[in-house]
Symmetry: C2
Subunit: 330 residues, 2 copies
DNA sequence: ATGAAAGCGCTAACAT
DNA sequence: ATGTTAGCGCTTTCAT
């Protein structure tokens, strides 16, 4: 029989005698035949593959997220190709070139490319894209309300009686600035003095940089500043910061309350269990995949912003301010 | 000019007038032309892509590892495709089928497929493969000596005076059994009674399952058993176990010493800092990529086993046994 | 040094 | 219902 008949069977098309269909199906089984994807995608002019652009170094939350996205995409029948990119021009261009060679059906952007050429290419080449955990004008995004979530975290601290707050954030991504923004908003709303010194920005969102951030904060503390509570822009930053506090003889939460962000899996197991803002990571991943699938299959062009609900998870690392702590300070 | 000339330029072939070459190069730059990978791989009969088979659920160590492998592979000019597989037949077959469709140049196996059909396919289809963190007969492997590493960890506990040891391991992968094996070997070598009750096997290597494991151990403890030290098959298992101990009012390391395995990035920041066995994760990743590259490019068939050196990292979670602890027990 | 032509494995349009 | 043909974008002979 001819190639086209086999093709018809393989793709479940009509117009095939059912005897013949059975026979071909059996043969496919026996020989373990699998159609060549390259050839298929060449004639179909689509690859059933989507690209996932991710940061070269990622924290636990991001790692979790992109594996969820990968699996959700797979459920829709897409293959996922990962593209790592650093926060630097050469790396981004490199990444873009690889992307171009793939004829991807769509792209999920998890890493904020700073080079506008990237987004221009997506636009010109009419490649459906969705961003997750951040926004870019004209592209549908799935994310939480970072400012509001941060404000909620800080409000929790405020409601516990804390007035002297500090924050560790990062300068690498927009969310770092947004979370700091939320921090300041909550503070000003509570009539607390607006002092930029309350926030230290570190290069990365890992525990290692949490250590650096807290050391800096402790240094500042020495020269007149003081604090009873910390808001860390990620759980890992919090873990590093708590480490330093412990080493400096300060107890969490007795002396210092700490709240993190992300609700990474280990946050519920560390000592003390971390109070944090949970991002609905599963939903973010699934909605991102769904949004991209819809853009690809239905060609819906309307860029819609999906803001998913966050939730404050109160655990052990925060507690009401004690008078002792205040007295120690004076 | 003709397509073939452009092709020659794009691939850096000879026999092109240098004026023309310059002109084409410039045009490529300007138009942002990138050759279509599908068409290329069809005629070349190779894809420059390698598959990375990874477990559907992975712990921090594995996540770190496969991102290192991906980057190392990229350095050799390969694209990486990720294939997730569960520990179950349908999922493995599914994974195998996807693999087949790709015409991969090579495959890195990080997930122990139990279905032999998988390895048979690799063999029959002559697809170069390398396994990492475990071994499969006939395939080059990159890994540490799991038994020896475990023995070293236990010896450390022994040298601290501990005699009553327990272990939490998993049954999902070979390394779980190997690490338990090393545990028993160290015990028998030290003339300590060989009691299978000393080890509890959980379904997964995460903190969550560390909690379950320790709860079980504590239950057993109630009925006459006792222990002053724990060896956890992964750092995350250790984190979960320490959590339970803390909740049960036991201090680490004052009452119970704990040693983990992997030296995951956060292990140096948690409270207490975790004593653990470090796997040379970077080297494992790099050597895996290198081994595969060599098999692909040089076609070397000799399956060689690469055993990389581990290292015991002593931190805060272990300390010499105290008499008090012994007395408490009696 | 360059161009023309063939062919990689597949699917879709066209015949029958 | 089935086979034949053309063509996807590239590289590689083979001519010139």
């Amino acid at each position: 029989m001819s190639a086209s008949t086999v093709s018809r069977v393989a793709n479940g098309k009509k117009y095939v005698n059912s005897d013949k269909r059975q026979r071909i199906l059996r043969l496919i089984q026996e020989t373990g035949y699998v159609p060549n994807k390259a050839a298929r995608s060449m004639v179909l002019k689509k690859t059933s593959s989507v690209g996932l652009v991710i940061p070269d170094t990622f924290n636990i939350f991001q790692r979790e997220l992109f594996s969820i996205i990968e699996r959700s995409l797979e459920a829709f029948g897409y293959y996922t190709m990962f593209f790592f990119s650093k926060f630097e021009d050469t790396s981004e261009n490199n990444c873009l070139n690889k992307l171009k060679a793939e004829n991807l059906d769509g792209i999920v952007v998890l890493h904020e490319m700073k080079n506008a050429a990237f987004y221009e290419y997506l636009y010109k080449a009419c490649i459906p894209a969705v961003t997750a955990t951040f926004r870019y004008p004209g592209i549908p995004a799935v994310h939480v309300n970072e400012e509001q979530a941060s404000t909620d975290a800080v409000s929790h601290l405020l409601s516990l009686g804390h007035r002297d707050l500090v924050m560790i954030s990062g300068d690498g991504f927009t969310f770092g600035r947004q979370r700091a923004e939320g921090f300041f908003q909550a503070l000003t709303a509570a009539d607390i003095d607006f002092d930029v010194k309350r926030v230290v920005f570190v290069r990365n969102y890992t525990a290692e940089f949490g250590v650096y951030g807290m050391r800096e904060l402790l240094l500042r503390r020495g020269v007149g500043q003081n604090f009873t509570a910390l808001f860390a822009a990620t759980d890992e930053l919090a873990i590093g910061a708590i480490r330093v506090l412990k080493d400096a003889g300060m107890r969490v939460p007795e002396d210092i309350s700490v709240v993190g962000f992300d609700d990474v899996d280990i946050s519920d197991y560390i000592i003390p269990r971390l109070t944090t803002v949970r991002q609905p990571i599963k939903e973010i991943g699934e909605q991102t995949a769904l949004a991209l699938h819809r853009r690809i299959s239905e060609g819906s062009v309307v860029p819609e912003d999906q803001v998913l609900p966050h939730r404050l998870i109160i655990r052990e690392s925060t507690q009401a301010i004690r008078f002792m702590a205040k007295q120690d300070a004076e």
